[in-house]
Structures are given as C-alpha cells and as structure tokens.
Amino acid sequence: MAVPILLLRRLLGAVPLLLVVSFVVFLLVGLTPGDPAARIAGENATPERIEMIRKSLNLEANLAVRYGDWLFAAAQGDFGRSLATSEPVVELIARRMPITFSLTAAALIVSVVLGMGGGIIAAIWRDSPIDRIVGALSSLGLALPSFWVAMILVVPLAINRTWFPALGYVSMADGVWPWLRSLTLPAIALALLPSAEMALQVRAALIETLEKDYILAARARGLSVISITLKHALKNAAIPVVTVLGFRIAQLLGGSVVIESVFALNGLGTLAITAALASDMPVLLGLTMVTTLAVVLVNFLVDASYLYFNPRGRRA
C-alpha cells in the first residue's frame, strides 16, 4: 500500500475516535450528580435564574438530543460559548493554546536533549560510573513529583536570584528571550519525568542494538563507538524511543495542568480546571477535542516516523 494512503487511513481513523471521546465526555458530565444549572448560576442565585439557565442550556432535553445538537454545531466549527464567561469557546482555546503548546514543546525539547544525551552516554559507557550516575538521576526523575521540583526550582532561580520569572508567561511577540525565560523553569519541571524515562529507554534500546552483528563488524573495521552509535545504531534503536516519546507528549499535555497552576500560566491546563469546577460543558468539550486532536496528530507523526526508521513497514 502506498505511504500516503496508509497515512490517510490513519488520519481517517481519528474521526470515530473523536466521536467516541466527545460522547464519553458528554455522557460523564451528564451523569455527574447534581444540577448543572444550579452550579452555573452560582451560590446566591434565585430559583428563577436557575430555571432560566436550565432552559437556555436545553437541560430538559435528553442527553442524546443535546449531544446531537452539539455535534451538529461543532461540525460547522461552532463549539458554543463558555457558560461561565460567555466567550466563544474557539476564541478562548485559541488564546490559551500557544501557552500550553509552547510549554509542551519546550518540555519535549528538554526531554529529548536530556533523555537522549543521558541514554546515549549510559549506553556507550555501559556499567561505568557515568552509566550509574545516569541511572541514579533517572530514578530520581521518575520518583520526584513535577510540582515539587517546580517549587524547589523557583526559590534559588527566581526568588533568590532573579534569573527566571517565578511565574507567568511572556508571549513570543514580546521577545524571544523573555519568552524562553518564562518557559525555562516550567519546562524543566515538566520534562523531568519524560527525560528520565527516555534516558532509560534509549540506553536499553542502544545496548541491544550495539550488540548486533553489523555493529560488531563495523567496530572490527575500526570505526569508533561514538561514530557507530550516532551514525548507525541510533536510527535502529529509534523505534521504541519514538513510541515512548509519542506516549509522553500526551502525558506532557496532561502534566501541564499541574505545572501551569504552580507557575500561574493561564494555558489549557488552568482552563480545564476552571471549566471542570464550573461544569462549563462547552469549554470542557472543546478542550477534549483539542487535546484528542493533538494526541491523534502525535500518534500519526509517530506512525509516519516508523516508516522512516523502518523501511520494511512501507511495504507492509
């Protein structure tokens, strides 16, 4: 099968996934005990106001009808308005998306640099003190909660020394350096776990590859270990690493909820918290669609990368 058709099939497979995810979210929010109209109306709302909200949200209609209405509008690009602030959901998400995506991208870069670097070093100098140091640091990275690391980083680097801001996001439009400064600490905190996991994964995959016959033959021809690793072994060890990376991107999006709170970054994570607390269904559904699409896109890229790293897959 031709590569474009293969990739197109993968993309089309995302459509039923989006439908299922949106329906499950709709169902779960719908099954939450209590009256959503009362929750939205606030503490001191009159019964008339609650009734008015109930009518405006068509809460008397059954779940399937409400889902159908939402789906019909969403298919036309109308995700409704936030119940809490009346803002169009699309605008609300579009405003917050650059923050979360910048944070996730920065954390991903940190993860790849630290994880790949650590893993390669540990594999090349297997069983050496360097390998053990990388192993110990990876264990720490797996064990330490990201929010705790975030708080620990802030005191010496943002309060005692004002090298980085303690909180807040600076848009790239306000300068690349301020933007990078505002992302550094949150990205490090968020990247700790994926870096550790990737270092262990890269190490294991590389060690296995480095023991293959063609690598031993290359070494016999006098090529250096570093050269063999970077030119030949790394590409062959990449598939499990890329798979882990794909999973991790989805988790980075989820992890940003906590890190955004600690660093007061008003991205999709904090929006998700506020929307969940306010039972803001349109925003929750919009967020679910965006994150699902992001995960689908990442999985698609991972699949595409398999075809690059393993040419045999193109003929499958």
Binding site: T32, P33, G34, D35, A38, R39, I40, A41, G42, E43, N44, A45, T46, R49, M52, S82, A84, T85, S86, E87, L92, R95, M151, V154, A158, I159, T162, P165, A166, L167, G168, S261, V262, F263, A264, N266, T270, L271, I273, T274, S279
Partner: protein, 516 residues
C-alpha cells in the same frame, strides 16, 4: 417637619462621615505614574455589575463602577455617589441626594435619570443577579437633576440603602446601556469609577487605566495602571510577590504564616485583614436525625472551635459565635456563651435527648479546608457518643442537597453580607432553610419587621440580635471561626490597610497608590 429634620440629620451625618471615612494617602508622596500588578484568587467572569454570578467579580467591578452608597469597615453605611439618603413619607420612599460633580467615563453626566435607568435595569434585566436586592423598589421618580425618589413596596426597603452599597447600586453609563453592548466582556468606558478596563481576559487578567475623565474622589484613582491577575495557587501568589513580579497579592491558608514571617523579615509588607466569612456548620433542624434540639445543642457544645481554628487554619481564623464582624451594629455579645466548648455538657445533653445512638450525616466538599474540619468534628462528636457519617460532595451539589433538605448538615463558609437581612434569608427563611417550618414562620415575621423602613437602626439591630439568638439557642447554625486574609504588598504601596470591604473579603482597592 419630623421627616425633614430626619433628612437633614442624615445628610449632616453622611457628609461628616464621608469627610472622615477616606484615609487619604499624602498627595505629595504619590507617584502619578505608579502602576500595580495584583494577584487575586478570584476569577473574573463578568464586568457587568448587574450580572455578577460570583462574588469574586466584585473586586474588579468596584474599581470601575462607583455605587450610590458605600460600607465602611464596621459595615456602616457611608455616602458615595449619593451624598445623603433618607426614608420619607412614613417609610414609603427612599430619597437620595446625588453628587453633582460626577461624570461617567464616556463623558455622560451622572444624574437622577442615570440612577433611574440603572436601577430599572437591575430590576428588569432578564439575566440580572441583583433583582432580589432591588425587589423592594416599586417605582422610581426623578425629582430633580440630582434628587431621586425610590418608591417602596409597603413595609419593605429598610435594607435597601445597604443593597445600594453593593453591586446592585453600581452606576453604569446610560449611554453604554443604550448601546446594548455586552458589558460582561466589553464594558470599555461604561464605568463611573476610578479606573477603566483596557484589556479584559476573563478568568485571566484585567488591566485598568485611570479614568479618562476627571474623577470626583481625589482620594482614589492614583494609579496610572492597575493590573489584576487571577492566580489560583496561593503559593504562586506568594512566590510572585517574593520575586517582585506582583506588587500586591492575596495570601490564604497555610501560606499566610509564611507570608507573615517573610514580612517580619522585611521582604515586603503584609496587612492581615479580618473577614466575616465564617467557617460554619449548618444543621437542618427539620431533618429526622436532627429534630431533637438537645442533640443539636450537644453537637454544638462537643465541638472545640479553637482546636479547629488552630489545626486547620494555623490560628489564622478568629473563633466566633456569629457571621458578623464584632464591630457590626447587629453583633450580639450574648451568643458567645451559647456555643462554648463543653464536652461534659454535650454528653449530658445527648443523654437528655433520649436518643440511644444518635447518628447524622455531615456533607463537605472534598479537597477543601472543609474536609479536615469535617474529619475533626466527626472525631469530637464520637467522644460524646454522637456518630457522624461523612458524605463528600462537590460544593454546589452539597449546597443543593442541604437546601433541598436531602442532607442533615453541611460544613461550609457563610460569606459576609452587606445587611443581616440577607443572612437571615440565607440561613433561616430561605436558602438553607435551617429552621423547621414553625420557627421559620416566626423568624419570617421578625425579618419582615426588620426590613420595614419605619424601624429605627436601633430597632433593626435589636430584631436581628433576637433572630441570631434564636438560631444559636436552637443550634441550627453553628459558626466556627471567621477567616483572616493576608494582603502582601511592596513597601512602596500605600492605602492597603485603609481599604474598605475587607469584611466580605472583597477589598475595594481604588484608593491605593504607589509612593515615590
């Protein structure tokens, strides 16, 4: 003659009070280019003062809309856009004399017609959240350019002046109302206050600049820019002020202790404010499990409020017997002895109740400070032989369950209100419906008397004291402690300590300034 005298007296008192009320920052010290970035825990959902679903919105709307009246730290009425006010014609109307030097931010003059348009909007707008507050107004007459007469529903309106100090009395430019634009998100120059919003990002940031027109109150509007940021985490707000990114930040909970220590060390200044937001236990006297008054009294005497204030709030919560600041005109000193901690008395009351194994449920919202409070209360009650079952529920659902009589009790916060009538309605005659039907009817009669404009302030106070005493004697409502809040600020910011409305935990910061 008597009415005229009363009006005159009220005007004199009002004018005197006004001149004393504002504590001015020394003009020579103020930096006219000063700007403040404030971190606040409350989200902003609407900048329309007549459509404010959450209390937190008020801290934003106070900056941009002035109200007809105001409340000082002892929750006593003070003038604002109305210079004076008085009930006339045997309590059938409330007459307000308005300031003649006020202009809305869009240049529209403030006058009696503007007041009429605003109050009618608050009463009639379909989405209005201030309808109840204005329900005692029957009709509005423009007497002259700066005098307005609010004709009242017979027997109602004694609490109306206090309501006019809340967002219900906020004044929006009639031109902006006529424009029909969405004032929740796009108010621009619709305000009457010291500041005008130039950037509005709901649940994120609102940036205000000084009002573009000459502002009537020289003691406010000192800042060139006032940025209010919604920051959910108290630790992040504290870090922000430590790192110098915030000039003013609200610090709550366990971070208050750290903030006070840092302030003592000179890192910044801190103002500890007492609120009348009271951590409370609400007991439904009409529920089968809590019908017995002896049992309810036993519950009250079994709970050590000091221990809760210390264990849950690190002592940053003032033990209290009512949801009013102790300087409030309706505060009842008699109540303290009715709810003192006395486990022996509690055990004796359980015996007297005749219930073999008393059991009831306590609803609380998990993951909040109400969870440890509920846990501690459960332990304390077990010691006197009362079995409390803990029922975790999301906050709004817990509220609904108690209001609908589906749960016995609820651990929650009762927020400071502008007038005790609102609290009586919330606790006993409406809202939580804590009093059983017969007692509710009795309290309703008393509450109606209290809002009759014919009552003098002293008579109103006496009625509310009696109602709160009835609530305490019958142990329907059990206040635990009143929260404190620390406002951390840079040392060059002045006016924080003098801000009003700390009682509702919604300080009005329109008077703060940056010193040179």
């Amino acid at each position: 003659m008597l009415t005229k005298l009363k009006f005159l007296l009220c005007s004199v008192i009002a004018a005197t009070a006004f001149s004393m009320a504002q504590v001015p920052v020394q003009a020579a010290e103020i930096d006219p280019e000063g700007s403040v970035t404030m971190a606040w825990a409350g989200p902003m959902a609407s900048l329309d003062p007549h459509v404010v679903p959450g209390l937190a919105d008020q801290i934003y709307t106070f900056l941009m809309y002035d109200r007809l009246l105001n409340l000082d730290p002892s929750v006593t009425l003070q003038p604002m856009l109305a210079k004076s006010w008085a009930f006339v014609d045997d309590g059938r109307a409330l007459v307000l004399q308005l300031r003649d030097d006020v202009v809305f931010q869009d240049g529209t003059p403030f006058n009696a017609e503007a007041v009429k348009i605003n109050l009618e909007r608050g009463k009639n707008l379909e989405t209005s959240t201030v309808k109840t507050a204005l329900q005692s107004i029957k009709s509005i007459d423009v007497v002259s350019d700066h005098e307005v007469r609010l004709n009242l529903v017979p027997g109602q309106g004694g609490n109306l002046p206090a309501m006019l100090a809340s967002t219900a009395g906020a004044m929006i430019s009639p031109k902006a109302i006529a424009d029909g634009r969405d004032l929740r998100l796009d108010p621009r120059d619709a305000g009457s206050g010291a500041y005008m919003p130039v950037t509005v990002r709901p649940n994120d940031t609102v940036i205000f600049t000084r009002s573009p027109v000459k502002y009537w109150d020289t003691h406010a509007g000192h800042l060139k820019k006032f940025e209010v940021r919604f920051v959910t985490q108290a630790a992040a707000r504290l870090n922000g002020i430590r790192a110098g990114q915030f000039d003013l930040a609200q610090i709550l909970g366990s971070d208050m202790q750290a903030a006070k220590k840092l302030a003592e060390g000179g890192a910044f200044a801190a103002h500890e404010a007492q609120t009348s937001n009271v951590q409370s236990m609400l007991l439904r006297g009409d529920r089968e499990n809590l019908k017995n008054v002896k049992l309810r009294q036993a519950i009250v005497h079994a709970i050590d409020r000091k221990a809760i204030a210390l264990a849950v709030f690190g002592g940053n919560c003032q033990v209290t017997s009512q949801a009013l600041v102790d300087t409030h005109w309706a505060y009842n000193k008699e109540l303290d002895s009715l709810s003192n901690y006395d486990p022996e008395k509690a055990a004796a009351l359980v015996k007297e109740s005749g219930i073999a194994s008393p059991t009831f449920d306590i609803v609380f919202s998990p993951g909040t400070s109400w969870e440890p409070q509920a846990n501690i209360i459960q332990g304390m009650l077990a010691k006197v032989g009362i079995n409390a079952k803990l029922v975790p529920m999301p906050q709004q659902d817990g509220l609904t369950a108690v209001r609908n009589g589906q749960s016995d009790s609820f651990v929650y916060v009762i927020v400071g209100t502008v007038d005790p009538s609102m609290m009586v309605d919330a606790l006993f005659t409406g809202g939580y419906n804590l009093a059983p039907a017969d007692a509710k009817a009795k309290i309703a009669v008393m509450a109606d008397q209290a809002v009759n404009p014919k009552q003098t302030p002293e008579q109103r106070a006496a009625i509310y004291r009696d109602i709160f005493k009835l609530g305490a004697e019958n142990a329907w409502y059990f206040p635990i402690c009143a929260s404190k809040v620390v406002w951390a600020h840079k040392k060059n910011i002045s006016g924080v300590e003098d801000a009003w409305w700390y009682f509702a935990s919604l300080p009005d910061f329109r008077g703060i300034a940056v010193n040179k």
